[in-house]
Amino acid sequence: MALFQIAEPGLSAAPHQHRLAVGIDLGTTNSLVAAVRSGKATTLPDLDGRHSIPSIIRYTKDQIQSGYEAESYSAQDPQNTIVSVKRFMGRSLNDLQSNNLISAYRFSSSDHGLPLFITEQGEVNPVQVSAEILKPLVARAEATLGGELEGVVITVPAYFDDAQRQGTKDAAALVGVNVLRLLNEPTAAAIAYGLDSGQEGVIAVFDLGGGTFDISVLRLNKGVFEVLATGGDSTLGGDDFDHLLAAQLIAQWQLTDISPTLERQLLIEARRVKEALTDNVLVTASLILATQDVLRFDVTRDAFDALVLPLVKKTINSCRRAMRDAGVGIDDVLETVMVGGSTRVPLVREQVLRFFKKTPLTSIDPDRVVAVGAAIQADILVGNKPDSDLLLLDVIPLSLGIETMGGLVEKVVSRNTTIPIARAQEFTTFKDGQTAMAFHVVQGERELVDNCRSLARFTLQGIPALAAGAAHIRVTFQVDADGLLSVTAMEKSTGVQSSIQVKPSFGLSDVEIGHMLKESMTHAKEDISRRMLAEKQVEAARVLESISAALNKDGDLLSDEVRSQIEASMQSLSQLRSANDADAIEKAIEALDHLTQDFAAKRMDNSIKLALKGQSVDNI
């Protein structure tokens, strides 16, 4: 049935055309972009042949600088040059103050307690800064690949919580790229290695980056990567090594009255010394003061090791916990994979080797392996490899729960549950005639609400006034494949419902995002509506293509009557598609969606049956 021809330029790609998609490693220190080209995933270099770009953004009065250009001003203009912004993502100003992260910057706070950097260009939030890091990467990819990207996979630390994930996705929305998936960094690394070697068995991925640490334990089986457990610390990374060494230098040189510039200089020097100690057992730290005096101090590798040992021990403890959660022993581990620049520190390698009793794999550059894995996944998700066996089954890193009486947490979804997942829990009223119930959604492992991260608060109104304990409120948590949570609450007897896409307490509201989106465009209004229309047209084309393929294949599942209803509805969507009314297209898509819901569900269930049949045939 070729009723609908849908290959107008710019709207829909011909079925077998290669779609452009990339993987982006949005790192604390450096960021990279990679793509699959001619069947091989590689990182994309800039015109000077550099693959990674410093995750640094500088705001001057009239421009925004990024990457190497911004980096060169880091010490000179620390307050306007934002480094390691990833550490601020999804955090409140309070969190940051307790983490000793903020001395170089001037801050103000948003209404929700979100930290805002005060720069020469005014206030900017961490999501906006992250968007600026993404921009040149997207531009580089589009220039290299020669076209507009259909989608991106962005990697996040496995241990990122809901607020941090949402922030990352919001940053991509600001740039206007379609996020195919947020992918956990260690899982991305496992893909990069797994496809190379075609192994089967348990793999441990140890990922110590600039600002975050992750450990993931995966099982590989016939192309399926099943994450068994993940753990880590989203506030532990190479930056912390630098901070410790810088503190040591301050003490050694008896520096007082440290200006932001001096502090940034110290951190840059600490990082240089740390990196040099990878290949040397002794490195001299030096610093030129404003007075032109030169300070020197010899740092031995042993002294450095002693300094950072407590932090490295913390990572090993996380490994122990993740192994226990995974239910596997050290002997079951086939390979360990090292990811992240900080795994170059000899003490880290030594401790990991001692714990896992295996020489870690390092054959793929630890700085690039995450982007490479993300590119492989992006290529599959965008639809370039319909026959690929590769499938990722990832988990949620931290338990999700709800506050109950006495400030206690009732867990609804436990950590290391495979996503996507939906779980329901029932609650009841505790006062006679109670007509509303407030919910507080939290994330974390501890028993007390105060020790967990607050994700969102919402209220279910309109509960029928009954005796205490008589109303039954069913709260459903749904976590999607990106690890993002939405929550619905429903009173069972009346069906009164309340739902929220959990917008993190320390994140941005939709209004704020919309506002930022407008700000980021020169001809705001016109551009936004044009973009909205283009998006709807693409979605309409996708819907028409998908349904017409479905009708071809499984049309016999439908009665003639329903089929002709669907076809009529497709016809009208097809006509609307070329008009310029985004709302009308949206409505027509909804109508078609409604009409085809049962059909789509039936097809999905048929594919489930088919999958099981293939299985039972295998077993006979």
Partner: protein, 176 residues
């Protein structure tokens, strides 16, 4: 939702977990959201829903306690939101004794050994309940099912103990 049906098993406590894992992977390959990442919103939504069910079903059938509970629910005995308590005095005494041992971990000279020892105790004890449970669940007598429900309640106590043991272990790591 009958999870046995979803995975094409007959409802029984005796499930071939290797076959279950195999079927799980095949189902995931058919409906996982990653297979629909470039498809319509409708298909994406359905994929998330079905995969969530498959994930939940797999977890339920894989774990003997939740599998037994699911089996009883299908027989009309719902344990999930009940307030019935265990009345078996020797069992409760044993629980109290273990709880005291959990508290001793912190001040123990060799906490790792104590953790390992308790862990083994818990596993052995749970295993003995599970073997009795298996027999009761295969019965077609409702009174056996109610007795099975009692065993499941006890197993839930054991799960809580295991959780607390893990927590005690975590606390040790954090102190280091």
């Amino acid at each position: 939702m009958n999870y046995f049906e979803l995975f094409s098993f007959s409802p029984s406590f005796d499930v071939d977990t290797a076959l279950l894992a195999h079927r799980y992977r095949d189902l995931q390959k058919a409906v996982h959201p990653d297979k629909f990442a470039h498809s319509t919103e409708q298909n994406k939504r359905l994929a998330v829903q079905r995969t969530a069910q498959i994930n939940d079903g797999f977890q339920t059938l894989k774990n003997p306690v939740s599998r037994a509970e699911h089996l009883l629910a299908l027989k009309g005995i719902e344990l999930s939101h009940e307030s019935t308590t265990v009345k078996d005095t020797p069992f409760l005494m044993q629980q109290m004794q273990w709880r005291e041992s959990l508290e001793d971990i912190r001040d123990s000279a060799a906490p790792d050994d104590l953790i390992d020892e308790l862990n083994q105790c818990f596993i052995d004890y749970s295993q003995s309940i599970i073997s009795r449970l298996a027999i009761l669940l295969e019965s077609d007598q409702p009174q056996d099912w109610h007795q099975a429900a009692d065993h499941i309640r006890k197993l839930k106590f054991m799960v809580k103990l295991q959780d607390e043991l893990s927590r005690a272990e975590d606390a040790l790591f954090d102190d280091e």
